[in-house]
Symmetry: C2
Subunit: 208 residues, 2 copies
DNA sequence: TCGTGTCTTTACCAAATGGTAAAAAACGTG
DNA sequence: CACGTTTTTTACCATTTGGTAAAGACACGA
């Protein structure tokens, strides 16, 4: 069993670990942790079950590896929000980036959604240690913008949650969206326009 | 095996079916369909597994029964949106009602979310036959309001989806919300104020 | 109290599931 | 090629899971 901590991973190890993780992302994002089986992952990756267990300690290790990779990728856009930039631009850029990620990586979004809906049993520590500090820091930045009069008075925490809710909705509830609207590029552009327009309106409303 | 179609159900039958459905709602909403087990439902309901299978055909029948009940309850508030009422009031009432339902029935919201995330395999027909017509009808109503100049120009379909995304987020992602904000009544009121305020701003923006 | 239909339990079962042992195959490198 | 190492396969195993058969407990009107 190769050690992923050690940086020494042969080409074939990297390729197979990647194949497994990609297949597992399919299966976990579609059925949740408990609903996913190693046989499904094996079938989806075109490898045998024991071979998968040669690369990962077990089912949970695969799930954890996916969640770890997810967290860093997922936090990056929020991290990029710059306190010294123009408030409206920074926030709308974040919204746009999140929308694009929902379009590009819907499986990751659903993997995360499954984990959270089911009570975040495996990712809770990460949320506390990684997400929460970043969230609070960025909320403070937004509050600073509000205090400086650059944004209308609103609740930073719930503003950020609104952005998450709206953007991830299009990935997580894709099945429903697909039934009610169409799924082509044109419809997607309308969705993006609606969401960004909505937040633009909210952020540029005349201060009462 | 008693027939739920027939209206003749003894007191004990009604009570036990209800107990099973309540327990199943716990389990399914937490683990999704595939991740839930009959043993968990049995344990949660305080009944034996064969006894549960005396009241329901099988695992899937329980899930379907829950989804059926869910659909009608869930659609009611949207149904109540009145084309002859004041547009802003009607829509904001709908938002408020949805927020309250997320607070009151988070398990139902998560049951639905699990089903949709996983591709809506069992509820898709219902979405087509029940949700879609109602959705399209109400979108037409909103479009009518817009055409009449009673609402700013926006996309009715995505407006409704925004409402769903924002309101259900607080139930579906409760675990995350609980980590980032607190979960007491005060925080809940702030959430409600934020969401309704957000849509009020959107709906009463000065027409450009 | 007896009998009949309703409800519940006990004792199972076949298939699926996460995981293991060990042999076999493939690989890399002197 | 030869030989140690890495990778893959075959053959299992214990537990869990959805579900069943049949016997027992219970309710309740005649």
């Amino acid at each position: 069993m190769p050690d992923p901590e050690t940086r020494k991973m042969s080409r074939i190890q990297q390729r197979n670990r990647h194949r497994i993780l990609d297949a597992a992302l399919d299966v976990f994002s579609q059925h949740g942790y408990r609903g996913a089986t190693l046989d499904q992952i094996a079938a989806a990756s075109g490898m045998s079950k024991p071979n998968i267990l040669y690369y990962f300690e077990g089912k949970e290790a695969i799930h954890v590896a996916l969640l770890n990779a997810l967290m860093t990728e997922w936090l990056a856009p929020l991290h990029a929000m710059d306190a010294n930039g123009d408030p409206v631009t920074e926030i709308l850029n974040y919204v746009t980036r999140k929308m694009e990620m929902s379009r590009e990586f819907p499986r990751q979004s659903r993997l995360f959604a499954n984990e959270i809906i089911q009570g975040a049993p495996r990712i809770k520590p990460h949320l506390e240690s990684d997400l929460k500090p970043l969230f609070m820091q960025k909320c403070a930045v937004i509050q600073g913008w509000i205090d400086a009069g650059h944004l209308p008075v609103l609740d930073p925490e719930h503003l950020v949650m609104s952005i998450w809710a709206m953007t991830q909705h299009y990935a997580d509830f894709e099945a429903q969206v697909h039934i009610l609207a169409s799924d082509d590029d044109a419809s997607w552009e309308r969705a993006k326009a609606h969401v960004t327009g909505m937040f633009r309106t909210l952020l540029t409303q005349p201060t009462p």
